[in-house]
Point group: C3
Chain length 435, copies 3
């Protein structure tokens, strides 16, 4: 096992190292790149790998042909590879059909994509559902192309195969589940979404060694078609999902952005807002909208799961998004460590957000004789643990969860949870049934 | 028929022309001025005219005697008409009893009303329920009066007759109705309320040629006693009123003011707020209060209809209010056109605010193969029609009207309605039953 | 009877005079100081005095031994009383056990308390539930102590006796009760809480001579153990408590602070917010928190009464709090008068917040023929009593209390209540059943 430690100082470095390992692989929504990626993750967590054949109907969609690629290039008149897939797998529009032809510049240009506003970066393009081919290149490369004949080659294969995804299940005391989902379909892009994939992996490895009230299910699958496929195959299991989180774009240096579930008032929404509020990090909370990552599917009207999404800067709002600028330098060790911590704290909040009942609900219990209250009266300051004890006792009436108490008191959930532990110890509190 | 066109460039001019035609008529809460006004409106829309006899009990009120006036003047010692009803019908306090006497200045002054703070304007005064007589004149006129004897004449008649109102009904697919109400009782005042009366007339003429989900009822009646009379005579029909709007003061150059219904959270309240928010015009929304125009009656506790009120600057908040300053110059062609547009957009919003159900609620349907989605992936921008399609699909679960979707997406209702049309066309959506 | 008058100009002085009388008495949670205090209050209101024996179990607590003290001092080597209980009863830690010993300075210092940041003030300390002894003194006194032997004497007694509290009941038309509670356990401190105790006494004396819809119960008892004891002995009566108010710290010159009940949306919370909003005084409203005075017990989960708390500056937020600085100069005549007025207005609001029904709910009734409306129409101003009449008529549908109407109209409750009186007089309104 590769997870040596999860202390915040080192976990960021470890996460970055695993991203480095996965970075060169050419992933897409299907194909060997996904398989290779999952097999590396299996060295960290005991992922189960699923294959769903091409042609399988999944709700309104069909699992597409499998796409694999060995080589691709554009050669100039002198036979020099001026665009080479082996330099960057972003050079090829994902799902390009095979081509091997000679053509003039003007015909070629209809298949070329660049970013004039960022002339050194290669854009990332896909064409999953429209059979065509194309190359992406930096705008400077494009401008340097001279008139003449070019040899164009994409040595790819689009054929019946399967869609591959990985799943890792950790049972807890309850059959109720927490779902963690990361899309795994992007090629050499670090923030989108090796950051999400690797942080989910590290969360799973950490959680494996913790006592768990809930069961947890981690899914690593391609965007859109992957979540649609997974939802279709697991429809009868969805009723057990109590909370869900899509993890993506967690390595840049921007502030956190939590995107709420469809209703906006699920427990997961309050948990993430609370965790971020007490994280010491900059963050914002945004309402659900139907564009984005796989929350689109989890929050579709007929599925309607309580699933939110945590990113740092959201999709499309940083210039490196979907370009070769989203590279190993773009994802920061410190950001990754901080993102891991916030996710772990959110899971700890999910775990501790239960409901308790005071055993002495009529007036305050006499905390002093139980050693839980100052001996001398008259002082004008009052705060900290004594205050947490009073809040827990006051609101433990069966109608308030620990998160309710934390929010009403303005204290972090973990302080409230510590007070609960003290009160359980002296018999002043009991857990609500079913908690 | 006089409605030639309703394009925004010309409708303002046409509305102003009709106001010019109605301006000289001496209207009051009863009498021939109302009849003459309604007969001119009948040249535009096929109004039904109702007469309710003096003495008819209407809830806590009684239809008063009918008031008519032929002439009125104050002559000075030399026999010159120094105040003349034929110069302005505002000179006579409405419902003045007949008088023909000679009197000194001091006795006369007890019957004179002026506005010291606006010395050139004649105020507008009424005395419907207290039998007396009076003259209104500019403060400069008042100051110019010299000691001496005056001949005072009001050639009016207060006698059994009837209260007159007009009603225009446009049936729609549903028996549910939308009520549009304008008070018609003011004499030569343009903004209050020829602006409301004429815009309602033009809305009715436009709507006559549109397909209609709802039925529409336009009522032109005097303020207070008119709406009380109409409500009393139509009590059994009130249950069909789904939305209502009082239209008044729509020609000045001030910003729009929507006054909410009694509950403040009726669909009409949300429709008007939405329409104004996306109108590009300045506006404010005010809570219901029990003073104002006929919304007082529609929103009384035992009637309690979902009726709001649209004006520009509300009553009493512009200096020309209830004075001769509210004249043909005070109402602007541009303001009238803009008011017409906002009212028409509000009606269109009422018409399109239905509820739909997605036929593919589980995950997103595959929009790409229906030609409703971009072919190439990876671009970082996403907006407009595709976004509207996703919002409609996501929220069409039977619990969200199009207005809900528009408000949640931040898009105008008409864009949402266009997306609905596209989705209906490809069979991805169906109307909720009863919509 | 000592309550001569309650007009605002003099009531502040009278309240201050009674505080002066009660100031020298050494009160604690039990003992003769409380008895003496209650017997003085009995000269104002016919308080019933209750004695609850030491050892009585009250919920999770036990009534403690009774504490009394005759003398206490520290004498220096020359026999001079350098700290003397007869100079200030704050010099002795409340509930100190008897001691009479000679000791060196360092042993003595472990029993001494002072305030370095306020070197002239004596702090106030207690040790109710930990048997020890101690002296409080000014920091300047402490610094002046020289090495040497001291004679230390506390002539106190801690023995079986009882806890004493006073109760005053005023029956009203309803058996429903309003509870007013003030803690009476503090020694020579004026704001905390002779201010609350004396204002409650004056409210009771005033209310005795008023017609009352509700019954009122005034309780004067020690903090914490007093309210716990009272609640335990009156458990079967708690269901009649409709509103409650803890009164404390009402004499300083700070702004008012209303602390809400546990739910924060009880009628008492709205009554106090409304009264303060229209009081012309500075104020703030704070959410409930489980630390403070006896609202802690009234708002414990198993008691959960609609009890709020009114203070000026809350506990611990002014430097004089729990020190000898909280003396007769610290409580101001003007503040006491203002606090009395606000409390009285709150009680008047409680009394008048009933629910009425319009007898003419369909459209407005014709106010003009009942002399309740202006005779002449057309004026542009409209406000005051006519507006209050319209608001009452519009919202008297059985779903709105007078407070609802006051808040929605923005008018003070007393103006709304006057309009109600006018409408009752002309038969346009009737009280809801059970009001």
């Amino acid at each position: 096992m590769h997870v040596k430690r999860t202390d915040p100082e080192h976990v960021g470095e470890e996460i970055h190292e695993l991203i480095e390992r996965l970075y060169p692989i050419c992933r897409s929504i299907t194909g060997n790149g996904v398989r290779e990626t999952l097999s590396i993750l299996q060295q960290y967590i005991a992922l189960e790998v699923h294959e769903v054949p091409t042609g399988t109907e999944v709700f309104d969609w069909v699992v597409p042909k499998e796409w694999n690629i060995r080589d691709a290039y554009i050669k100039d008149g002198k036979g020099r590879r001026i665009v080479d897939f082996h330099n960057s797998n972003l050079h090829v529009v994902s799902y390009s059909v095979p081509v091997h032809e000679r053509m003039g510049l003007s015909r070629l240009k209809a298949h070329l994509f660049s970013l004039p506003e960022h002339p050194d970066w290669i854009p990332y393009k896909t064409s999953y559902y429209d059979e065509t081919w194309g190359f992406c290149l930096s705008h400077n490369q494009l401008l340097a192309l001279e008139e003449g004949e070019y040899e164009v080659c994409i040595d790819s294969e689009l054929s019946d195969g399967s869609l591959t995804y990985g799943e890792y299940f950790l049972p807890g005391k309850r059959t109720d589940e927490v779902l963690i989902y990361s899309h795994i379909c992007h090629p050499s892009l670090c923030n989108d979404n090796l950051s999400g994939v690797v942080i989910a992996t590290y969360l799973a490895a950490w959680l494996r060694d913790q006592p768990r009230r809930y069961s947890y299910r981690f899914v690593f699958a391609p965007g859109t078609i992957g979540s649609i496929t997974w939802l279709c195959r697991n429809e009868e299991r969805l009723e057990y999902i109590r909370h869900g989180l899509v993890l993506a774009l967690l390595g840049d240096s921007g502030k956190f952005t939590y995107k709420q579930s469809r209703s906006g008032n699920e427990e997961i929404d309050r948990i993430l807002a609370h965790t971020l509020r007490h994280s010491g990090c900059d963050y914002s909370v945004e309402a659900f909208s139907p564009y984005g990552y796989d929350e689109r599917q989890f929050c579709s009207p007929g599925i309607n799961l309580p699933v939110g999404r945590l990113t740092r800067t959201p999709e499309g709002r940083y210039p490196e998004y979907h370009t070769s600028g989203d590279n190993l330098d773009f994802v920061r060790v410190g950001s990754l460590a901080e993102s891991f911590s916030v996710c772990r704290d959110a899971i700890m909040a999910i775990e501790s957000n239960a409901c308790y009942l005071s055993n002495n609900p009529k007036c305050e219990p006499h905390l002093g004789r139980r050693g839980l209250y100052r001996k001398r009266g008259g002082d004008s300051d009052f705060a900290g643990m004594e205050m947490a004890l009073l809040w827990v006792l006051n609101l433990s009436d069966g109608n308030h969860s620990l998160l309710d108490i934390a929010e009403r008191s303005g204290m972090p959930l973990w302080e409230i949870a510590s007070a609960v532990d003290e009160l359980l110890l002296v018999g002043l509190l009991r857990a609500c049934e079913g908690a």
